[in-house]
Structures are given as C-alpha cells and as structure tokens.
Symmetry: C2
Subunit: 459 residues, 2 copies
Amino acid sequence: MPSTHSPDAPGPGRRSERLPRVLAADLAALPDGATASLSGWVHRRRALAGVTFLVLRDRSGLVQVVVREPETVEQLQSLPEETVVEVVGAVRHHPSAPGGAELVDPAVTALSEPAVAPPTELWRPAFGAGLPTLLDHAAVTLRHARHRAAWQLASASLRGFRTALAELDFTEIATPKLVGTATESGANVFAVDYFGRTAYLAQSPQLYKQMLVGVFERVFEVGPVFRAEPHDTVRHLAQYTSLDAEIGFIRDHRDVLLVLREAIAGMVQAIRTYAADAVELLEVRLPDVPAEFPVISFHDALARVGADPDEPDLSPAHERALSEWAAAAYGSDFLAVEGYPMSKRPFYTHPQAPPPDCAPDDPRREPGRWSNSFDLLFRGLELTTGGQRLHRPSDYAAALARTGQSPGPYAGYLEAFASGMPPHGGFAIGLERWVGRLTGAENIREVTLFPRDLHRLAP
Amino acid sequence: MPSTHSPDAPGPGRRSERLPRVLAADLAALPDGATASLSGWVHRRRALAGVTFLVLRDRSGLVQVVVREPETVEQLQSLPEETVVEVVGAVRHHPSAPGGAELVDPAVTALSEPAVAPPTELWRPAFGAGLPTLLDHAAVTLRHARHRAAWQLASASLRGFRTALAELDFTEIATPKLVGTATESGANVFAVDYFGRTAYLAQSPQLYKQMLVGVFERVFEVGPVFRAEPHDTVRHLAQYTSLDAEIGFIRDHRDVLLVLREAIAGMVQAIRTYAADAVELLEVRLPDVPAEFPVISFHDALARVGADPDEPDLSPAHERALSEWAAAAYGSDFLAVEGYPMSKRPFYTHPQAPPPDCAPDDPRREPGRWSNSFDLLFRGLELTTGGQRLHRPSDYAAALARTGQSPGPYAGYLEAFASGMPPHGGFAIGLERWVGRLTGAENIREVTLFPRDLHRLAP
C-alpha cells in the first residue's frame, strides 16, 4: 500500500483537520503509543467481562480494538456488525494481537447509520449460507473474506494476462459488443432492439480480433461476452469475461500455444505477487506452468480414453480422464488436445496437414477432416479453445460455401482477407472457469460478481 | 520487443526449418551482410530504372528492400500493395535508408494471395479518404499509419489508467452489462430479449461499482457502456469504452479529483512511454498534468462566461470559454467545475454543504440545491463526470422519493447501504473523447475501432 501516493495520506492541497487514515495492515509499523485513526467496517464485537473487543475490517485486513471505557462499550451496542466507523486510539504492540498491534483507548465515530444484519454472519471463517443467499444478496455477501479472496484471484489474473501480452508486444483493443448479424455460431445469441432494427450481442470478439491482426499483428481484449445459454449448468453463464488474444505471422497453432503458455504463466505469477493472501486463505494450489504444455492429438486422446474413434468431441468425463493421465504422465495440470475434427469447429478454422509419419490408411490423411485447433484442459475442464484460422480469401469463400453460408453478412470481415492477412491464430480464456478451477468451486457462479443466467438478472 | 520471449524467435520446441523472423525496427542491429527474414505487408512498390524498391511494413515499422534481380522485379508486379509476404535478404547498413539499414538481394514469398487494392492508398502520409470510407472499410483503412497511431494512444492510455490505479491499491472488477431495470437514467437504454423477458444494456457500471466499494473499498473497471443516443452528433456513440473508478472513505468529491488526477497523469505517462512514435506522427501536444486540477464552482463558472445564474448546465460554448480561461489563468489544459445543481445530477448524487465563506443571501446557501459533483473539462470538452455519492440508507430513501422513484427495482443496490457503506465517490472517463481531444479529431468516430451509432452497425 503505497501510502505516499494515496489519498489515504495527506498530500498537496489536502485539508488537514482530520488525522490521516491508517490501514489495518500498517498499524504495527507505527510506534507504540502513537495516536492512529482507522476507518472501516465493524467486523465483529465480542463482549467479555470488563473488556469488549471490536474487530475492524478495511481493505487491508483486520485490526483488534480493545474497549474498556464503559461509555464506549455501551456505544458499541448500537453499532452492529457492518456499520462503517472511524476509530481513533493509541497503538499498542502486543505479540498476541493479530498482526502484532492493536488499538486501545478508542474514540469511535459512526460514518453512516447503524447497519442492518447481513443475511449471514460475515465474520465467521466459513461462509454460512448457500448459493441462493450468496447471489440474492451479493452486494453484502461478497464482503465475506472467502468471496473477496476468490475475486482477488480474478483481479490479479487479469493484471498478469495483460502484462504478459504487453511484454510480447500485443496491442489492447476494444471491439463492438453490438453486431448486425448473428454470424459466428447462429445459436444462443441475445437480440437487441437497436434503433428499431435488430442487433445482437457479440458472443466473442472473434471476427474483430482477426481483422485487427491486419492492423496491429498482435492484439488482445479483455471484456464481456454474451451467450444466451438455454441450459442451467454449473459451468455456463449468460455473460462472462473473456480473455482474448490473436496473433499474426504464426506457423500454425503450436505458435498460439506458446503465447497461451506465456499468458497463463503471467496470470499465475501475478496471483503469486498480488493475491498471496487470497491464495493462503483459500488454500489454492497454484499450478506449475510447464515450459511447454504437453500436447496430445484428438485422435490419440479418443484412443487413450477408450472412446469410439469416430466420436466428434470429448465428453466431460473424457476431459477429466485425460487430465488425470497428463498429471500422471507429465506432472502437468495442463494438457493441450490438438487436431479436433473440422466438423465441430467454426468455419474460420484452419485444417490440419496430416502428420508426415502417419500410415497411408491412417484416417488423419483424410483431407479437411482434422483442424489446427486445440482445447487446453486444466484440471479436468476445458479452459481455453484456440487454434489457427484461415487467412487466404479463397479459403474463406470455400469455407462459407461448405457450411452453407452467404458471404453477404461477412462483407466487412472478408475485406480484411482480400486485402492481405498473414497466417494467424488465437485463443480465448474464460476468466470465471479459470478461477473456478483454482478454487475448486462447484459452481462457476460462486466466483462471478453478480452472475447472469437463464433465471437471474438481479442484483 | 523482447525477442527472447517472443514466438518471433526460436524457443524451446520450435521447429527450426525456417529462419527466425526479424522485425523491421531490429534490422539495423544485425551485422552488415547478415541474412535476415522479414515478414509483413507490401506497403509500397516503386519501380525506377534498374531498381525497384519494395517497402515492407510490419508492426514495428517500415523497411526498404532493394530489388535489382529482373525475375524478382517481375514477381513484384503480381504482389500488389497489402499483399502479405516473407522477404529473405542480406542486411545492408546505409545512412540514407530509413532506419539506417535496408535489405538487398531479396527472395520474396507470398504468404497469402495477391491483395485487392484498398479503398485508398494506405502508404500515403495523409489519409486520402473521408469518414464514410474510413468507417465502411475499417478492417483495411485502420491499417493507415495515422489511424493505427490514434489507437496506440488509446491502448497506452488504458495501460496507464490501470497501472496508476493498481498502484493506489484499487481492485479491478467486471460487472454485468445486462441489467433488469433501466434504473440509472431511464432514457436512452437498449432493450434486450433476455430468455423471453426484457433486460437492458448497462449505461454505466455505476450501481455495481458503488456496491463493490463495500467489498473492496477502491475499484475500477474498463469496459463497454451502451447509450441509445437518438441524436447524430460528433461526440456521442451507441457504445464507448468507459474508464470507471469508485473510491471509499473519501471526505468529499475533492478526494475523487485527487485520484482522477493520478489516473490521468498515469495515462499521459503511459502514452509517453509506450506510444512515443504515435505522438510524434500525429504531432500530439501532450498535456502537462498539474499537481492539482484548478477548480471553479459551477456558480462562479456561469458568472465568468456571462451566463444567467439560473442556467442548469454549461453549454458546449461555455465549456470552451472556461477551458480558454483556465489555460490563460492557470496554464492548465484541465479545469474542474464543481457544485453542479442537484437537479441536473442523478439521484445518488451527494449534495454540497454551502461554502462557509459565502454571504447569508448567497444562493449557494439553499439546502440541497448544489451537489458535490464535478465535470472535468479538457481542452474545451467535458472529459469526465464524477463526484461524491450518497452513502446513508435514509438519504437514498429520501432521494428516491424526491425523484418519484420506487425503491423496488433498487432492492439489491439499497441493501449495500443498509448494510454499511462508507462515504464514497468516483468518476468515469470516456476513452474515445480523451483520444479525440488529444488528436484534435473533429468526430469521435475517427478514433474508435468500428464505431456504433444510430446509423451504423457494421462492420
């Protein structure tokens, strides 16, 4: 907490009639006996014979305030948990106090009105209510230490993602979320009344990030994407945060995997640096990010899990089994599965050249059957989808014809390819899935601020 | 360009059948005579007697390729501008070459098909077409150096905003863009078909960032906001990028201005650091950010521009005149106007206490007439709106009653205040307005990637 740059501290032009605010985490750095002013929430009150403990919470942590003066003890009875207060008192270093220091002889001032009781006691170490209470009362329940910590993992991850890509010379972009045609997948789009005509909410920045590879070569965007998911599952949301990147001048999807590896390593590093307390509180086991992700082909992955070789996709059970195998075989929490069937991938997907070492009758020799795309599995769940995209205009014409689509709605996009696009590819990471796997959350809604789904549009 | 971490360079597991890619900006660092492989777009071809110059463009800049071999000269005739190529040749240091080095004896390989001609010649220093061409063909026209540079100012600004706030201990948040009630202003909202009922696109993260002050104290969000602006103006868009911050435990809106000053200083610093080439190309005069923004009251601002003291708002002409005055009086490109009438501000606005030095008959003594809110003017235009918000639950009840609103739709929001919220406030910066003022763009659409408005939903 760089207090010298903070409006917590007096600075140029600050009026000085009030003591500067001290954060809980900084209390022990003050000399014994110093007068300190702290502000925060009444986290907990504990009345014993002859002494009442007031635990104050601010963004940096907790501090114990020792109250002996009878008038202040009585005053506290009308300042319930979650009331916002300022406490001015004397610093006392004390080895048994949390953080090594506590505040004594306090004067307490309420900064708002007495708080109503939250739907569950927020000071208890475990969150004492179920998912509906968490979500219905999110404005208050998110204050619980475990939920704050989960989002701190998310916040640090965003920072690490951007830092890693900025170091690789990526340009951040901001693309339209209102689009004229429901092009990318057709299904599961939200329709918007757009000045009397119909627009759609973008399901991903896919087409825009590709076009912008033509401008900046390497681009990323962190932003909301929208899926009108008609199913009520523990891992789908109507809005989630997508961490998107797209990279020009690649050789194939393996180059995309190298960048994805750097992005994820940056996210893990940022969590270590900026969210260490959250990692400790939630007992998160952070993954080691291997220098390269182990890769298995879709064809071999099916064989390994004993599935029919004509299966078009991996089931959740297959993904779990493959992750277990990667952990055992490579000591890796990550496994890239490459070469998904073209039939299961969007029209812009680049086909795979058959591996040079496969037998003449190997099904991988079938032209256009397999793709240069991948899924990255993390601890049993698909975390990322990515791959190489088509870049030749004639390939786009063929792909649209093959999938029965008219080029008209894609005119602005196809123009990029007609006017020269390099071989390129990219990926998208779902923020909430990432944090959900880190924390072991059973439901992705537990790690989302104000989730949106089939049933939920508030708060 | 940290080539050791870049997929441009060979790394662990990279297949090495191809030479590693060298960027244009790095060419002069190679020894004279070295063989180098560059990839990029054919920026321009110039055929002279006996020699053809191929100017190659990549994300780092331009490089001149000298072609004398007749077969390669002929080959270039079928590789028009914007075609994507790989060029392998010999480095020649040459004082008259742009960047100090050029490539000679090249072998050229097309990486895609020959490009069709862009709607305007992209190699010309000035953008040679009007706004409709720029926007209709954005996938290609954004490649023009001046448009790339304008967005590089935006991209660097985003980075600087986040860095400044992260240093002040802010937590990044991601809030819902689909909301159940068109609460904040009522007008200009987009309606969405949300699983058979009506949702709305969020006009700002205002209510959510306030609730999250109760969780993290200091929060920021960078994301899209949506306004169904029915008017076709040069400074409004249906979607723009909002840089939002909200801060707990302030004394009043002046503390918000201190944080806003740090955010803008961080944006300017990041532009200097990461977008110096764009600043030079566009001849941007970067503002000096004063240690504190000069402040004038709305009341005094009206008097200074000779407006009626009962005017409820400042007109664009007033804003320009005030900015001119601030430049002359304070040498500042920024001016904060504080104390707007409550009647023009949203219901959550905190009223102003009358200044202690004003006369007994001063209109500023009228209770509840003026607010603790501000606009920040930058070079004649409102860049930011911000201020202190209400934090006591009883004040919210009164404010909703005063504005004739039912508390029902705000239930999830009001719960935050009932359960204890500190004095707080915040601001929002419009990214496109910021870049527009920096570049002097006449229309905000010139500095937006794929803008959305009343008439435009593509590309």
